[in-house]
């Protein structure tokens, strides 16, 4: 009886256990790892992927997928940089960019919901279009924030600290708390799980399924734009090819966090742990001086291992 409980605990908390094993492994191998500075590094570097991954979790919970996040990230970043570059107040700029992100996300959602397309196909196409729009908008060159007072104010999002903790970490924490609350305590949260669990049943029980779908893609777009403003603030410029491959990182974080790719089952806290595992891997492999080519293989292997374990234990 006692052993069964331990086994169940191990299975339920497998993402957390993976994270802890990695922490112990890396910190025993490298003395620099367990320093406050380095922990801030990891959290700060993780924040961008983690925020996108929250949006991705919402979409995947409805049994959809959003491949546009990388392109949307680049486009909203370019827009943010050009607005700030025109010396406009950062508050106004960020509000505008978040609204644009949400609007583009919503239109992807409309295509998925009203067009009755598979999310994979619809977002694959949108990914291409948005990347093209970004290249047209940026003319293929990076956009610099310039040196104005407003630019410096904006860069605070990337470099500022509150109570000694970097701002990106605060933003990540707030995003997770809001998402956790929404999924657990609001009607929309329950609809998201219901939709992923059984779309037909959800529709039959009188819930406007299309509206839920559009809402999750809009939220995903907004969070992409938010993550993008952090990256632009950290780099002081926007790159036309920014965000390439970020959809894969976000999906990996969601999967590592134990959310089911077929929807309906998963927790937002799992996604945070998944993103932390990836961030910690990046940082740890750097600190351990693993050859860059092998880093990719190790990361792939860890994700594969986690997914295989998940597949075995969640049946």
């Amino acid at each position: 009886m006692h052993t069964i409980n331990i086994k169940r605990l191990l299975i339920e908390q497998k993402s957390l256990i993976t994270l802890l094993v990695l922490v112990i492994l890396v910190s025993s191998l490298n003395s620099h790892f367990f320093t406050l500075n380095n922990l801030f590094n990891i959290l700060q570097q993780t924040s961008i992927n983690a925020i996108i991954a929250v949006g991705m979790t919402l979409v995947i919970l409805t049994s959809g997928i959003d491949l546009t996040v990388g392109s949307l990230f680049a486009l909203t970043g370019a827009i943010a940089a050009s607005i700030i570059g025109a010396d406009i107040s950062p508050f106004l700029a960020i509000t505008a960019v978040l609204a644009i992100g949400a609007a583009i996300g919503a239109s992807t959602g409309i295509i998925v919901a009203k067009g009755k397309l598979q999310a994979f196909i619809a977002t694959l196409v949108m990914m291409l279009i948005l990347r093209g729009v970004t290249l047209v908008y940026t003319k293929g060159s990076p956009i610099s924030l310039g040196m104005s007072d407003n630019a410096e104010l904006f860069e605070w999002i990337g470099f500022g600290q509150i109570l000694g903790i970097p701002v990106p970490i605060w933003i990540m924490a707030i995003v997770f708390i809001i998402a956790w609350y929404m999924l657990k305590y609001t009607r929309l949260g329950r609809y998201i799980y219901a939709l992923g669990g059984n779309e037909a049943a959800t529709r039959l029980s009188g819930i406007n399924v299309d509206r839920v779908k559009i809402a999750v893609y809009a939220m995903c777009g907004l969070l992409c734009a938010l993550a993008s403003t952090i990256e632009v603030a950290r780099l002081s410029s926007a790159q036309p090819n920014a965000g390439t491959g970020y959809e894969m990182d976000a999906i990996a974080a969601v999967v590592l966090g134990g959310t089911s790719m077929s929807g309906g089952r998963g927790k937002i806290i799992g996604t945070l742990i998944g993103a932390l595992i990836l961030g910690l891997l990046n940082n740890g492999l750097n600190l351990l001086e693993i050859d860059p080519y092998y880093q990719m293989i190790v990361k792939g292997a860890v994700i594969l291992f986690a997914v295989l374990v998940d597949n075995k234990t969640s049946k």
Binding site: N30, Q45, I48, R234, N286, D291
Partner: protein, 295 residues
């Protein structure tokens, strides 16, 4: 039982990694490279690695995968390890700025390779000497055709440092030997434009004997135009030493290409880092020689 096995493997792995870490307990120099998906930068890294081994340093190589965000994260991770010097081959001269500033803040000296940084304190910038390369091309033309040579120049994208410096070097040769420059027109480093511009120039300047193109792509475009017009005996010189360029030289289609030496850039980066560690003065700009490749 299974758990025991896992513990055995894990501790063996830990022991192995710790041991190997101790063997390499030399002083650290770090190289943050824009991408390891491009032969030019792989060669640059190999050059740095060889020199580091020779001088007894441990070279930490991190790949930015052409992503400035990854580049910044790499530099932040490195700062924790406190290497003696960070060599950065930027993904983009603007976007690398905050990575350089982060290293500045941690008092770790920074050297840039191949591309410069527009922000922060960089002790030394090491890149190809494009001016010398342009001069080299001019010298070669005069060496082969004499001072009466009639020459056309195809320029790169106006305003880029590569186009400006290569043109300046070529101009120096022109001043020195007083050969005849029939025309000098931009073709934007592009193969198709190189072909079009050359086609137009062939009709207006049929006496041309040599073409200097500021990169291999334009040189190969010019080569096509000359072939299509059925003209022989026009000497073409390219720049960069790309794979296509070198192949064309080997087949005798191009007379020469002025090649960059990425291996030497990497090696000089580590050498300069070594000088900084020893407390010696280093130059803020270190030009790396180019090499003329002929058949």
């Amino acid at each position: 039982m299974k758990f025991n096995k896992f513990v055995t493997y894990a501790s063996a792995l830990t022991l192995g990694l710790t041991l190997s870490a101790q063997i390499f307990a030399k002083e650290n120099i770090a190289l943050v490279i824009s991408t390891l998906n491009n032969p030019f930068f792989v060669t640059l890294k190999d050059g740095a690695q060889k020199k580091a081994d020779e001088l007894g340093y441990n070279l930490i190589v991190l790949d930015s995968q052409n992503n400035p965000a990854k580049e910044l994260a790499n530099v932040e991770d490195l700062i924790v390890k406190n290497p003696k010097v960070i060599l950065i081959n930027p993904t983009d001269s603007d976007a690398v700025g905050n990575a350089v500033l982060a290293a500045n803040k941690a008092n770790i000296p920074v050297i840039t390779l191949d591309r410069a940084s527009n922000k922060g304190d960089v002790i030394s910038h090491i890149a190809s000497d494009n001016i010398a390369g342009g001069k080299m091309a001019g010298d070669y033309i005069v060496e082969k055709l004499g001072k009466d040579a009639k020459v056309i120049q195809l320029e790169g994208i106006t305003g880029t440092s590569a186009a400006r410096e290569r043109g300046e070097g070529f101009n120096r040769a022109l001043q020195e030997y007083q050969f005849t420059l029939l025309a000098s027109q931009p073709a934007d480093f592009d193969r198709a434009k190189g072909m079009n511009v050359m086609q137009n120039l062939l009709t207006s300047q049929p006496n041309v004997q040599a073409v200097f193109a500021q990169n291999d792509e334009m040189a190969l475009g010019a080569m096509r135009a000359i072939q299509a017009a059925g003209i022989k005996n026009i000497m073409i010189i390219g720049f960069d030493g790309t794979d296509d360029g070198i192949k064309a030289v080997e087949r005798g289609r191009l007379a020469a290409t002025v090649a960059q030496q990425p291996e030497l850039i990497g090696a000089m980066g580590v050498e300069t880092a070594n000088s900084i560690i020893k407390g010696e003065q280093v130059a803020t700009e270190i030009p790396v020689e180019l090499k003329l490749i002929t058949k």
